[in-house]
Symmetry: C2
Subunit: 217 residues, 2 copies
C-alpha cells in the first residue's frame, strides 16, 4: 500500500529541514519505505479536507490504506513498530527509546518552541530584548541536563533509535540561536545525526521541494 | 513485580492534581494495577540518584523490575500496551489513540506551558500585562481547533482512551485561567474525564499526599 505524507508547498524555513515532515521523511528513509508527498499550501491547511486529516491544521500527516495519522511522534512510532531499524528488539530497551521520543517532544521541545515563538512573533514587541535572555536560559536548563546525560556517548541510550531521531530533529531548531555551541557534546551529537545517510536523503528530498521553481500557473 | 512511581513530597499546586504523577496514577487506576509511591523533595530531584532515573530531574518516574522509565507519555503508553483498558484492540484505532496522546503533549500542551510560565515566572516582569493576552490567544487557537474536532462527541476518537486521559490532564491546567469556559464542549469534556472513577481515585490519592500533616522531624 502506498504511503502518502503531507508537507508544506513552501516551508517557512526555505528548506533548512526544520519543518516536521523532515522527521517523518527521515524515519521513512531509515526503515526503507518508499513514500509519496502531497504538498499543501498555507491556505489549504485551514480547509475542511485537511482538517479532517489533521485537526490542528498542521503538517505532516500520514496515510496508508485505511490508516490516517497526524502528529510526528505518532507517525514515527507507528513506522518504528511496523518496520525494523528505529527501535531495539529488547522490550526494556524499546520502552526506553520511546521515553526519549517523548522527552524530545514534551520536555526539550517546549522551551525551544517558546524561543522560536519569541523570535518569530514577538521580535518587534517592546519587551523582546529584555525577555529573550530569560527564554534562552530556560532552553539552557534542558540542554545542560541533556548534555550531562549524554556525556561522551554517541547516542542517548545505546544504539541509535527513534529517540535520537526525534531529539536531533528538535535540537536542530536551535542552530541559528548559537545555543548548541555552548554544549560541544550536543553539537557533535546533532552533527552525527545529520551525517546519517537516511537523514541526508530526507534533507535532500525536502530541499528539492523548497528550491524547485514555482509551478507554472 | 511491584510498580513504584515517584511524586512530589509536596506538589506546588497544593493537591489540585496538576502534577504529572496524577496522569500516571490515573492510568494505573484505569488498568487496575496496584502501585507504590516514593515521594521526592525538590532538593532530591537534582541529586544523582534521581537524575539516573530522570535525566531532567522531574517526576514521575516508573520502576517495575528492571524496567525504569521517565516521561509521562512513555509511562502511560507502556501501561496501555501491557494492560487492557487504555487503548482499543483494533490496530487502526490504536494508532489514532496514540496520535491523540502526542497531540495532547506536543501540540496542545506547549502553549499552555507557555501560559503557566508567563504567570509563574514572568508575573512581575514589566511586560506581563501587555504580553499575557498574546499568550492566551495562542492557547485559544488550539482550543478552538480541538473544540471543532470534538463537536458533540464524548471523546476524541470513539471510546475513551489514553489519548483522552492525556488531553483531559493537559486541559485541566487551564482551569484557573478561565479559558476553558469559552469552549463549553471542552469544559464538559474535561468534566466527563474528572467524573471517571479511575480519575477520582487518582485525584484522591495525590490529594492525600498533599494534605497530610508534615512528617514528624
Amino acid at each position: 500500500m502506498t504511503i502518502t505524507i503531507t508537507a508544506f508547498e513552501r516551508s517557512p524555513d526555505g528548506g533548512q529541514g526544520l519543518a516536521r515532515d523532515t522527521r517523518v521523511r527521515w524515519a521513512l528513509e531509515k526503515v526503507g519505505q518508499p513514500y509519496e508527498v502531497r504538498l499543501v499550501s498555507f491556505a489549504a491547511l485551514k480547509e475542511p479536507a485537511h482538517l479532517r486529516l489533521h485537526p490542528f491544521g498542521q503538517i505532516p500527516t500520514y496515510e496508508e490504506g485505511d490508516v490516517a495519522l497526524f502528529e510526528t511522534g505518532a507517525i514515527v512510532l507507528h513506522l518504528a513498530k511496523r518496520h525494523a531499524g528505529l527501535l531495539p528488539a529488547d522490550a526494556r530497551a524499546r520502552a526506553r527509546a520511546i521515553a526519549w521520543i517523548f522527552a524530545a517532544l514534551n520536555t526539550v521541545e517546549p522551551p525551544i518552541l517558546e524561543l522560536v515563538t519569541a523570535k518569530l512573533l514577538e521580535a518587534d514587541a517592546p519587551w523582546s530584548a529584555l525577555r529573550l535572555p530569560l527564554v534562552k536560559d530556560r532552553v539552557r536548563v534542558r540542554l545542560r541536563q541533556l548534555s550531562a546525560h549524554l556525556g561522551d556517548a554517541d547516542w542517548l541510550d545505546g544504539a541509535f533509535s527513534a529517540g535520537d531521531l526525534m531529539m536531533v530533529s528538535v535540537l536542530l531548531r536551535l542552530r541559528s540561536s548559537g545555543l548548541l555551541d555552548e554544549f560541544p557534546n550536543l553539537r557533535a551529537y546533532v552533527a552525527r545525526g545529520e551525517a546519517r545517510p537516511a537523514y541526508e536523503r530526507a534533507f535532500a528530498a525536502q530541499l528539492a521541494v523548497n528550491t524547485a521553481p514555482p509551478a507554472d500557473g
